[in-house]
């Protein structure tokens, strides 16, 4: 019924759908395969004549994968293709199992910050919400399959994420979700897959520091153990016993105490990771650590902790080549610099030059350490997956290539994206490889996935096909953010106006913004233009306190409109017009 409704309504739009970004509308009929964006579950597909990388080290040339009802039903050379299957000719393409992300907030809506947070009377004893203690919260409440982040990550080949709610300390439970589907429930593979926690404190109220967060964690955990055991005493015989109190917060710990689910900690930093281990050792829960960026110096400690590990896909930026070569004219320094020290005009290096060189080298080495983290983990025999939590989606593929260049084998990289996370999350029976009986989660790329400039062509999530746009964005449709804009915004303090200057260089944007309140000009950051959506951030200096302001607007020709979000101060409408002189 619903399907019929959709199809009927959409039919007139079919032709126009070419222009739509790769998303979400149901299609009909084999003839439209090339244009189809998502197929309804239940369709059969066959990917033919492709190189199938079934798993790390398992490759079939010119093979076929058959999928039906969301499952892989046949893989191999010369397997028979059922007549109802839509055939995807994937000559010279590569097929992999869909990637699994161990920790992120993909598809999770950020709750709106309250405009003006009420001052807590006793900051030492704030309401649980303010303290960040809401482990009973269910991430499903914020799931949205249409969130842009779902599509973005899926476009890279990810089909499954373990996602967590926004917040600090104990924001709620995690869920393992498919990066597709129509409704939040549609997405969920495993609900309450872990209790999620971060070692970060609440603003201005208890627990404010990491130490208080850790103390509170211990207290909650131990109290939960006590109330749980009393509840079982009570359940056995209620006669003459006081009724145990209900406490949703403590109850959230019960499955952890029973070892039914692990605690999942974000632990980017080397110290953070070790602090999580301290808690684990004190309390004995099973542990998942995600978004690990600085695990490389403590691999043995991580290994012996028994924690399950998801390494971050984020990397520190590389030192740009042209920054390194300082003031030397390029031509005569071409040769191997270690051998030839002859150039006549060689400046005598001052101690400060030497210092600078040493510092640059140290920085380069540091970056290299971060980049070689996965290969070091592989060498140490630690099974790990990857997590996309803090990585910029557009950098992930390049970062994987950097990791490979730093010693990670392609097989190990693939394992980190597929078989390992499947194993760590207890999903190996369902996913991680291209095998009969597994869920139809697949990635199809033009070239081997880790090759330079390799692009994803198709992604299957639970048997549903997503086709990636491969051509450059249409020129005539191009929206330009570049230019000088005059904006105004309505804030609780009144109208603020100012100039916004956006520059473009090789596809990346930068610029400055002024405002009539402070009169100061500041740099804008994280400038991104996605279709018509322009977003950026800047720091607003409010008499000593800096506020991070996020701006998101839609550009329409020489105008834009949208919102400006100033941290705890809330969001305000913003409008602008472009200065035509530019």
């Amino acid at each position: 019924m619903i399907k019929y409704f959709y199809n009927k309504r959409l039919r007139p739009l079919m032709v126009a759908s070419l222009l739509w970004p790769a998303m979400s509308w149901a299609q009909q009929g084999q003839a439209l395969e090339e244009k189809s964006l998502i197929a309804p579950v239940g369709r059969a597909y066959a990917i033919t004549n492709a190189t199938i990388v079934q798993g790390p080290g398992r490759k079939i040339e010119k093979g076929t994968v058959v999928m039906k009802d969301g499952l892989i039903t046949a893989v191999g050379i010369g397997v028979s293709v059922p007549p109802e299957a839509i055939i995807i000719k994937a000559d010279s393409m590569f097929v992999y199992a869909g990637f699994i992300d161990g920790l992120s907030r993909t598809g999770v809506t950020k709750p709106k910050e309250e405009k003006e947070k009420e001052k807590v009377k006793d900051p030492g004893n704030p309401p649980a919400e303010r303290a960040g203690i809401t482990p009973q919260n269910d991430v499903r409440n914020w799931l949205n399959p249409n969130d842009k982040s779902v599509e973005e990550l899926r476009n890279l080949g990810f089909t499954v994420s373990q996602v967590v709610p926004y917040g600090n300390f104990l924001p709620g439970s995690a869920a393992i979700v498919l990066l597709g589907g129509k409704s939040p429930d549609d997405m969920v593979l495993v609900n309450n897959s872990a209790l999620y926690s971060e070692l970060s404190g609440a603003q201005n109220v208890y627990p404010n520091t990491v130490m208080a967060v850790m103390a509170k964690f211990r207290e909650l955990y131990r109290n939960a153990s006590l109330t749980k055991s009393y509840q079982s005493v009570y359940a056995a015989n209620r006669n003459s016993l006081p009724r145990p109190e209900n406490d949703r917060i403590l109850e959230s710990f019960y499955p952890v105490i029973d070892q039914r689910i692990p605690v999942l900690f974000k632990s980017e930093k080397v110290m953070e990771t070790q602090r999580v281990f301290t808690l684990k050792n004190d309390l004995g829960f099973s542990l998942l650590i995600g978004d690990v960026k600085e695990g490389w110096p403590i691999i043995p400690k991580i290994k012996s902790s028994g924690a399950k590990v998801f390494l971050s896909l984020d990397l520190p930026e590389e030192v740009k080549k042209d920054e390194k070569k300082t003031d030397k004219p390029g031509k005569d320094v071409k040769k191997d610099s270690t051998k030839n020290e002859e150039p006549k005009k060689e400046k005598i290096k001052t101690p400060l030059d030497l210092e600078k060189e040493a510092l640059e080298k140290k920085k380069k080495d540091a970056i290299a350490s971060y980049t070689s983290q996965p290969s070091e983990f592989t060498k140490a025999g630690v099974t790990y997956g990857f997590s996309a939590m803090s990585a910029k989606t557009k950098d992930i593929q390049a970062n994987l290539r950097r990791m490979i260049k730093a010693g990670l084998t392609e097989d190990a990289a693939l394992a980190g994206l597929t078989t390992n996370p499947a194993q760590l999350l207890g999903l190996s029976d369902r996913m991680g490889t291209v095998d009969n009986g597994k869920m139809a989660n697949l990635v199809v790329s033009y070239k081997p996935y880790f090759d330079e400039k390799s692009k994803v062509r198709y992604v299957f999530v639970d048997g549903a096909l997503y086709k990636m746009e491969t051509k450059e964005a249409k020129k005539d449709d191009k929206v330009s953010a570049k230019g000088n804009w005059s904006y105004s915004t309505e804030t609780p303090q009144g109208t603020a106006t100012g100039k916004l200057v956006i520059k473009e260089e090789k596809g990346s944007y930068s610029g400055t913004i002024t405002n009539s309140f402070t009169g100061k000009e500041v740099e804008i950051k994280n400038v991104e233009l996605d279709g018509k959506k322009l977003s950026f951030t800047f720091q607003y200096d409010n008499s000593g306190a800096t506020l991070n302001v996020e701006v998101s607007v839609d550009i329409d020709g020489n105008n834009f409109e949208g919102t400006m979000t100033a941290g705890p101060n809330g969001s305000f409408p913003v409008k602008a017009t472009k200065d035509p002189k530019f």
Binding site: L352, L359, K362, K520, E521, V522, E523, Q539, D541, T546
Partner: protein, 437 residues
């Protein structure tokens, strides 16, 4: 009868003692003629004299040397085993402008406004500040008291640490303070982003240039109208001597980048009398400073390195490295938060421990600052005709355990007391003890 006399005498003594105790907060100095005999004399400028005499009379040093006849009526102070040094000069203080650091009602060193060079430290120096006796009994006799805050926070004054009015304390030197636009973080709590920092520095430099342009304009109008029709611009009037090349500009700059920028700025504006202060990263750009011939007042010496990757003792070594580069270097304590200007000799001592020549370090807290401030005719060495501003101690004045025995300021013999010594006297053996009997 005799008994009564004795009793009266005793009473008098007791009364004197009592009166003395009541006065104790600021006990009186003694003016007259003194002879410091049998002393080792570190003249600073004319070598060391052993077994010599320093004559003090009418506020001045009237003779220095051996075999000096002591005029009648001169109080002789036997300095056997002791050494006479010129009073130490701390060029990094806010003495008299601050009583209790955290209580703004008791501090007077920071006026509102970015450009307020007309605010004069000398106006607000409290001659009875508790820190003054505490400082001088340690041999620090002279201090540059500086305002702090904005771009041009005011005019600093050199004062002697004895007197009851600012005029009595003033040594004569005053200098306009300029906090050169600063690209460094003010401490680890300063969490501005790199860009914010850069913008702030640029804005401050722009402001500075505008102020300077106006000052130069004011100077032109002032000279054209012979000072009659320039109008009432107090901040410009305060800058006028500097523009004219008569007054000294004390430029605080610490990060290497800022020192370089300050030197460039001074050159561009052709400012005649300049002193660089702070100069924490001076060692990074020592050759540039040396080339400029601009003198330096550096300190605090007891500091952490300015950069995470710097050698651990870089701050201790800075003064010595500047001296090695043939820069004229004075050392200051800059211990404003704790009012511990008495630690000035230890700052010099640490500079020595970490590489500075000892004689140079001694000069850096005596004659060099005197020269920088143009008062070397009065202060900075033990020479006939100079002000009798000196101290006597039982050893190397940099050495921690050395005791200061006598202090003279402008010929006044200073009582060796401060609130801190009085508390010692009272509480070393408290009475009553634990029980109230």
């Amino acid at each position: 009868m005799k008994k009564i006399q004795l009793l009266t005498g005793l009473c008098t003594v007791l009364l004197c003692a009592l009166v003395f105790h009541i006065d104790a907060q600021n006990p009186k100095g003694k003016y007259g003629s003194f002879a410091l005999t049998n002393a080792t004399i570190e003249t600073i400028t004319k070598g060391t004299i052993t077994n010599g005499t320093v004559l003090i009379s009418g506020g001045k040093i009237t003779a220095v040397g051996t075999g000096i006849t002591i005029p009648q009526g001169t109080e002789v102070i036997d300095c056997k085993g002791l050494t006479v040094y010129p009073g130490m000069i701390d060029s990094g203080t806010n003495l008299g402008l601050s009583e209790v650091g955290s209580d703004p009602r008791t501090t007077d060193f920071s006026e509102l406004g970015e450009v307020v060079p007309q605010m004069k430290a000398l106006t607000a120096v409290n001659p009875n500040a508790v820190a003054i006796p505490i400082t001088r009994v340690s041999g620090v006799t002279t201090a540059l008291s500086s305002p702090s805050g904005g771009l041009f926070p005011g005019t600093a004054a050199l004062i002697n640490l004895h007197g009851y009015t600012p005029e009595q304390m003033s040594v004569g030197f005053e200098g306009v303070v300029l906090n050169f636009p600063n690209s460094a973080r003010r401490g680890f709590f300063d969490r501005r982003t790199d860009e914010e920092l850069k913008k702030a520095t640029e804005a401050a430099l722009k402001n500075l240039n505008e102020v300077w342009e106006r000052a130069v304009q004011y100077y032109k109008v002032d000279s054209a109208t012979h000072g009659k029709n320039a109008g009432y611009y107090p901040e410009m009037q305060a800058l006028l001597p500097v523009v004219k090349g008569e007054g000294t500009l004390l430029i605080e700059a610490n990060a290497a980048k800022d020192i370089t920028a300050a030197l460039k700025w001074v050159k561009e504006k052709k400012i005649a009398k300049v002193v660089l202060t702070g100069v924490a990263e001076g060692w990074r750009v020592a050759d540039q400073i040396a080339k400029s011939k601009i003198p330096v007042i550096t300190g605090s010496i007891l500091e952490l390195p300015t950069r995470e990757y710097d050698r651990y003792d870089q701050a201790y070594a800075n003064a010595g490295m500047l001296k090695k580069a043939e820069i004229k270097v004075a050392i200051r304590s800059e211990e404003k938060g704790n009012q511990n200007f008495r630690n000035l000799p230890y700052h010099a001592g640490f500079a020595v421990a970490y590489g500075m020549d000892k004689a140079e370090a001694l000069k850096a807290i005596t004659i060099v600052p005197a020269e920088i401030f143009g008062v070397s005719d009065k202060l900075g060495s033990i020479e006939t005709g100079k002000s009798a501003t000196l101290f006597v101690c039982d050893g190397d004045p940099f050495e921690t355990k050395t005791q200061i025995k006598q202090v003279f300021i402008d010929g006044w013999q200073i009582p060796m007391q401060s609130r801190q010594t009085l508390l010692y006297d009272e509480f070393l053996k408290r009475e009553p003890g634990v029980s109230k009997k």
